[in-house]
Amino acid sequence: MAVLKTEDLTKMYGSFKAVDHINIEVREGEVYGFIGPNGAGKSTTIRVLLGMLKATSGSASIFGKDIWADAVDIHKRIAYVPGDVNLWPNLTGGEVIDLFMKLRGGKANQKRREELIQKFNFDPSKKCRTYSKGNRQKVSLIAAFASDADLYILDEPTSGLDPLMERTFQECVMEASNDGKSILLSSHILSEVERLCDRVGIIREGRIIESGSLDELRHLTRTNLNVETKQAIPSLDDMEGVHHIEKKEGTLSFQVDTEQLDEVVHYISQFGVIKLESAPPTLEDLFMRHYEGASGGES
């Protein structure tokens, strides 16, 4: 069942399409990765989903309710972490966490709050003006994970965290996921998405250009091969679907389009294979390919 579903969701600013006919679906219990570079429309999409911006056309529902008309009802079951957390300089972190938990409604889980404060190694007694970006994000993350939400909407939540805290964050996401919660994670940290997400959608210039499970997406792309053979392989670069050939101490490494894999492996096996390593494409390969391919200007 879809927890969150958009249909041709579009947001225009004048004639500029910030979000252009986006269709995404977050299913119950899954972690959905929403990836794309800065300015691609991730945050705008999320702010439309939260009912802060009004969609120009298209529709979206969360828990089967309309995101604009039923915003308050929906938000009772949502926890949201913005990418850029602006807080009130003269309140303390602890006060803000309490405020956030209270405003979500429902029971405030004090035990969970203390646990998370420990886990994120956070000092709640300081005024928000003294917090670094990472600490402000912790305020938002602690309030989010201390709440018993059904859907977590996380907009680049780790951009200011150190690697240790990023790990803590990932644990929290996995824990929530194991409890059957759904998560929409917007990010441009691909290793994080690769690790956490079941399915991803790639957004560029307001449009979703690719979506599906990581496995499905990998199918669309290239596999990395490292090969060592008894005899040198002639005219490999003439073969269709072979890219980026590099030679290092007798080992050839190159990328092969998935649909050509069979032919290429047949071909090289004639030359006496000593070593054959294959690695699935990383999300980064995938991502870069989409961006290099389509935009021209960006590289």
């Binding site: 939260l50 913005p82 009130w88």
Partner: protein
């Protein structure tokens, strides 16, 4: 070693000067302009010694002495009058300017990490403090010269060169004194907000100490640097040694600040900031509670200020009638009404002024809603279970109550002070009613603000122009003899000017209906528009 502490101070001074060139220019122009314009106005308003003696008489009460200090009331020339009524208050403004500028370049830069960048360059430990000190010294001396020479250049008989220069340098040296004080405070506490708060508090305490001293015990006034300002007796005794007192005070403060700067770590202070609350109190935990908490300090300050405005206007009520009789210009300001004393007419005019001043804090309270939006902080609330209507209603409730409290305090302050100086004091109800009559007009301004926030938030601050317009046409309307409709473009123009006019209820009802209409329209707009942010 010692030489290195100040290395590159000169370059940093130049840099600070460049950063602040417009800021400094605006301060200089504003302070000089207001200082120079007053003696001209005084010469026009009180052309004869008789006029001035009448003015001197109204000054001879404890409330006025507490406000502007003692003066040469026996020989109240235009010069003595200017020095008496303006010097102390201008010195407070100059003190404020120095506090703001000094804080900006010391603790503020340090707290935001800019000083760290500077200090990583081949720059001495004391270069930043030294540079700030140089810039402010230059600024204060410049101000002293502009004011001093400017006052003399006005060519008013009672304002000779020595007195004029003393006037200027009293301002400049008071400024330098508070620059030094701020530099010292900036070493002690860790954040810029506290530096501003503590320095400002010290400035106000200095003012208060000398107020108490001037009224009751002169020796007490000597503790306060602002007491020294009055002690200069500019344009009468011209006590130049006061400058030495202020200057040596400034030097001691700067030296102390420099010493503390060398023995502390970067970004550290001597007062540790104490840990704040780990949990929110129950009162904070609602959109309304949060909105109130964010504005609490500001609102309390405004409340005190409104009371003081009322008190200070009320304190001059004692001898007004005799004062107005000899003064044509003031009579023009008041449209004369048969059967009412000048004092009563004056009160009705003051009420407009106070009502318009009292409009400022509730409008600020309402605009805060958009201020929060621009800083993306509303996302935290709207992303949770707070509806837009509830959010807006919270700010609206605060603004509406705020306006009521501000008007009430101003009226109460005026009544209290007037009652203590007048032989036949007003009834409380007369004054309070005259003040509150403006409440519906004030609410129209708030309603209009809601409308702007609902539909065109980006230009919502245009509401200030409307407030300013109202102030202009209603305050000067009598003097410039504007046609009636000019005043009727402001909601304040429909309110009967009590106690001179009769109370009318029709405008009150109509304005209230308009308020409700504006507010509902604004809320509808707010519900359907995008929430903005970066």
């Amino acid at each position: 070693m010692r030489n290195q502490s100040f290395s590159n101070t000169g370059k940093l001074s130049g840099f600070i000067l460049r950063l602040d060139r417009f800021r400094i220019l605006i301060w200089l122009v504003a302070i000089s302009f207001f200082t120079l314009v007053v003696p001209i106005a005084f010469s026009d308003l009180y052309p004869t010694q008789q006029d001035r003696d009448a003015m001197a008489e109204t000054m001879e009460n404890p409330a006025m002495i507490a406000m502007v200090g003692p003066g040469d009331l026996g020989n109240y020339t235009v010069g003595a009058m200017t020095a008496h009524q303006m010097l102390l208050l201008t010195a407070v403004v100059v003190g404020l300017m120095n506090i703001l500028l000094m804080n900006r370049h010391t603790r503020s830069d340090e707290e935001d990490g800019r000083l760290e960048l500077i200090r990583s360059l081949p720059v001495g430990k004391l270069a930043n403090l030294g540079g700030s000190c140089i810039v402010l010294t230059v600024l204060n001396v410049l101000l002293a010269l502009i004011v001093g020479v400017g006052l003399y250049a006005l060519g008013i008989d009672s304002m000779n060169l020595a007195g004029s220069l003393l006037y200027g340098f009293v301002l400049g040296m008071t400024g330098l004194f508070f620059a030094g004080l701020t530099a010292l405070v900036a070493q002690i506490t860790e954040n810029a907000r506290n530096v501003f708060g503590i320095s400002l508090a010290l400035l106000l305490v200095s003012y208060l100490i000398r107020a108490i001293g001037d009224v009751s015990n002169e020796a007490l006034s000597w503790i306060s640097p602002l007491g020294w300002v009055s002690a200069a007796e500019v344009y009468s005794e011209n006590n130049g040694w006061v400058l030495l007192l202020l200057l040596s005070g400034a030097i001691v403060l700067f030296a102390l600040a420099g010493y503390l700067n060398t023995i502390r770590d970067l970004e550290a202070g001597f007062l540790r900031s104490k840990p704040g609350k780990k949990h929110a109190s129950a009162r904070l935990l609602s959109p309304l509670g949060l909105a109130f908490r964010l504005q609490r300090t500001g609102m309390i300050s405004w409340a005190v200020a409104m009371l003081l405005v009322g008190v200070s206007y009320g304190s001059v009520m004692g001898d007004l009638d005799s004062f107005f009789e000899g003064n044509e210009m003031m009579q023009q300001l008041l449209v004369s009404q048969e059967g009412y004393s000048f004092t009563e007419q004056f009160v009705s005019m003051l009420m407009v002024v106070m009502a318009l001043i009292g409009t400022v804090p509730p409008v600020m309270a309402m605009l805060k809603l958009y201020g929060e939006e621009k800083k993306n902080r509303l996302d935290h609330l709207l992303g949770r279970t707070v509806s837009r209507v509830r959010l807006l209603a919270g700010y609206l409730v605060i603004a509406v109550i705020n306006g009521f409290v501000m008007l009430s305090l101003a009226a109460v302050g005026l009544w209290m002070a007037a009652a203590s100086v007048m032989e036949e004091p007003f009834e409380f109800g007369t004054i309070y009613g005259a003040g509150l009559a403006y409440y519906p007009a004030l609410l129209v301004i708030i309603g209009l603000t809601v409308l702007l926030i609902g539909f065109v938030p980006k230009v919502s601050s245009l509401i200030w122009l409307y407030v300013l317009y109202s102030f202009f046409v209603l305050y000067f309307g009598g003097m410039f003899q504007f046609p009636d409709w000019v005043g009727k473009l402001s909601p304040f123009g429909y309110i009967p000017e009590l106690p001179v006019d009769e109370m009318e209820w029709l405008p009150v009802v109509v304005l209230t209906v308009i308020v409700i209409g504006l507010t509902i329209a604004g809320i509808l707009g707010y519900r359907r528009r995008d929430i903005q942010g970066q």
